[in-house]
Symmetry: C2
Subunit: 393 residues, 2 copies
Amino acid sequence: MAIERSSPTMLKKSRLFTPGPTPLQPAVQEALARPILHHRTDEFRAVFKECTAGLKQFLKTDDEVLILSCSGTGGMEAALVSVLSPGDAMLALVAGNFGERWAAIGRAHGMAVTVLEAEWGDAVPAERVAEALDRDPRIRGVFVQLSESSTGAAHDVEAIARVTRGRKDTVLVVDAISGAGAMRLETAAWGVDVVVVGSQKALALPPGLAFVSMSSRAWAAAERAETPRFYFDLARERKAQAAGESAFTPAISSVVALRAALAFVASMGGVDELVRNAGVLGASTRAAAQALGLPLVAPRAHGDALTALYAPSGVESGAIVKALKAEFASTVAGGQGKLKGQILRIAHLGYYDATDILGLLATLEIVLRRLGHRFDLGAGLAAAEAEYLRLTP
Amino acid sequence: MAIERSSPTMLKKSRLFTPGPTPLQPAVQEALARPILHHRTDEFRAVFKECTAGLKQFLKTDDEVLILSCSGTGGMEAALVSVLSPGDAMLALVAGNFGERWAAIGRAHGMAVTVLEAEWGDAVPAERVAEALDRDPRIRGVFVQLSESSTGAAHDVEAIARVTRGRKDTVLVVDAISGAGAMRLETAAWGVDVVVVGSQKALALPPGLAFVSMSSRAWAAAERAETPRFYFDLARERKAQAAGESAFTPAISSVVALRAALAFVASMGGVDELVRNAGVLGASTRAAAQALGLPLVAPRAHGDALTALYAPSGVESGAIVKALKAEFASTVAGGQGKLKGQILRIAHLGYYDATDILGLLATLEIVLRRLGHRFDLGAGLAAAEAEYLRLTP
């Protein structure tokens, strides 16, 4: 095969275009390489407090944001077990693989899970949430993704929060693991009760930390919640973290690196600029995809954290993913769950710039041409550049 | 100005597309970050010997290759003072800024310098070297650049060596600082007497090391040469380096990193593959330049270490350089010497891959459009991708 012959002779730099992990920000790499601090010291407490303050700005809230040493899924579980008791009714909005995870965590802890499903690629509209809550007033929690990473679709969290925030006994828990920092999220202004974020997404850190913000409504629910919990006991964390410590040994180097990551976001002008960056890169990618004949998985409900694309007719998406890796050492994500083997996913969240994305799109054109797809070379780039120019006048 | 408004809001990664320094290879970065070794130890001697062995492969010679702790210019001076005596006649082939450096070093040491000049952008043909040597048989050394970094032009070193190698008392000294590893160089097979290389070029190290290979003819000249020298006394270095040490304190971390750089070249399949890589990237860049209406500075004599381009009519090259830096944090080189302010130069030597160069070319299109140049968006990319596909079937 042609690609096999040519690939050994060209230099290739490993690049991740996956929606987590994302490329590490260089200041993060430097921070990770430093000698370790001890976590029960004033020096580390100062770092920790800077981080929690920075996370509040990142999530646009005055609520406490807790730092947990676990993956994003751990943060999801911590949030769920902290606001619900076994047997509680909960609503899981399922528009893809990660929506299913909310339902699975709820079932694992004995919750009465009602699922509101959307076609993969679509999102569950706020009206359906309102109807479901009207139908079953016992529902104590609504669980949703800001960005559904398996399809690139986004939920209208602002509209959903408008539904939940008037209902005293129902909290809104948002998995913003891949959405925060890539799409608009006004935690306080919208009235979102719990937000969960992962470190390996827009903040461009390695995986290993999760961040959970809790509103006063969420803390009230936590006081009532009887789900057994120890490591994920957020009330215990709240007490410790008020003093600049975590309840248990934290991932120290990752916290030091988190400070560097938050400083980088601040240096860009704050989270709004990072969101705008992902928005421009996402729009440019969608423009290229349309010009090249790669249909969007989420044409109506797309977010900006990533773009999920079907292969053009006659080409297998798996072949595209493999060829980008083999010839250019660029890793784009394939499909998950029921979209496995059918799509490719290109990340925009985090530490990506226009040169990254335009370079990837050019190599995508080369790979599509090798795989026999018919289009005018350069057409995707022309569309992406035009969209970039339109959005950055 | 539009660029000023848009640039603060988009993420930008600093990228060097300059013909030295070039981006550091990651294994080099890791090696540089290690704790220091002592240089008078068996551990370091083993590293040093691995490096000199690897450099022989890199330069395709069995001649000793000496490692000097200095910049490339230091390597040039070491070579010149080692093979000539004050008052000796020497021939400097001057096709640009770095050719002038050979003449300047010669004059600084009292040599009788004859200059063979070419128009900047052209190269001095081997026939003119033969004529000059016939005219003045006292000439003891011919000094030339493999790649003239100020114009992107290349000398036909193979043909020039055919002229010099039959003349017993005339050595050929090649500045391959930016050429080695980016263009064909068969030191032994062509009969090149002295080759000078710098670390911050194709080997993707920081500046600080120079490498000098010396043939037996060159060593014979060194025995006769009476130019005063101490730090640049290559005979002294030869003796020390045979034992895996340098005569004076070496740039230890850079030598450790050099081993990593040479291992990377070996992992690609050897220097021929690195040369091929630069060749494909150079050809793709030239194709894009033609499609976009940016004339080559060296249309007939171009090398592959870098591409030097004039701005399209109506656009200032300095504005292009500035805009790439301001909007995308990409640094391309401007002109040097008499081409200052007139051209831009894009590097291909070293640690660059297709994604890098295609990404840069896309941002170049965006910048050209902003600066008012008229062309079809995507035209440069279409040409570059087509050329890439043609050369990597």
